[in-house]
Symmetry: C2
Subunit: 111 residues, 2 copies
């Protein structure tokens, strides 16, 4: 999976559910905790996600992961980008599948 696609999946998850633990995110996306932390850090670095202390207590470990305005814009842009890309993929798969069917039906070297 490409990094930008992973980004979009995280953004989608957070927009619907800002108060979610990193472990829940990781499980939802099917990756490890360390891996998710790595992705999330990159999103914060890009300014797309902000980690806010939950309920205003400065010493709590639990965070809310909020999309910044730039994050919302990025999500819209990425969504459009992947819609386009996935439509192309879809068409490409048709051809790929036909080719595979042919090869399975008539393997070279068969008698």
């Amino acid at each position: 999976m490409s990094q930008t696609e992973q980004d979009l999946r995280v953004l989608r998850l957070l927009q619907g559910q800002p108060d979610i633990t990193q472990r829940q995110m990781a499980s939802e996306l099917g990756i490890s905790l360390g891996g998710l932390n790595y992705c999330l850090r990159a999103l914060v670095e890009k300014g797309w996600v902000k980690m806010d202390n939950f309920s205003g207590n400065p010493n709590k470990l639990k965070y809310a992961y909020l999309l910044t305005p730039n994050g919302v814009r990025a999500k819209t842009r990425l969504t459009a980008h992947f819609l386009k890309q996935k439509l192309a993929e879809y068409e490409a798969l048709k051809g790929e599948i036909e080719r595979l069917k042919t090869e399975v039906a008539q393997p070279r070297g068969s008698k």
Copy 2:
């Protein structure tokens, strides 16, 4: 891309064109020369591909990359495997595309 899919792409390339340079292969597959060499080495290690000196001269650098009998069997098996997987991917993409269309049409936070 998964390693096994990359394997299949290399096998397909070689079955059609055993006398091809590593640079041509890399270019065809859209990866670097070092990367292709890495993949190819793994295929030789698995016994799916044999590197033969071209034209019987033991000191030539140019090789022919031949599929072994096991290589041919592996290619058939992988082809069937990916046919099945890609049909599933195809179905999954339909849903994914519909979801993306909805999000593009009705972005959250729009007035």
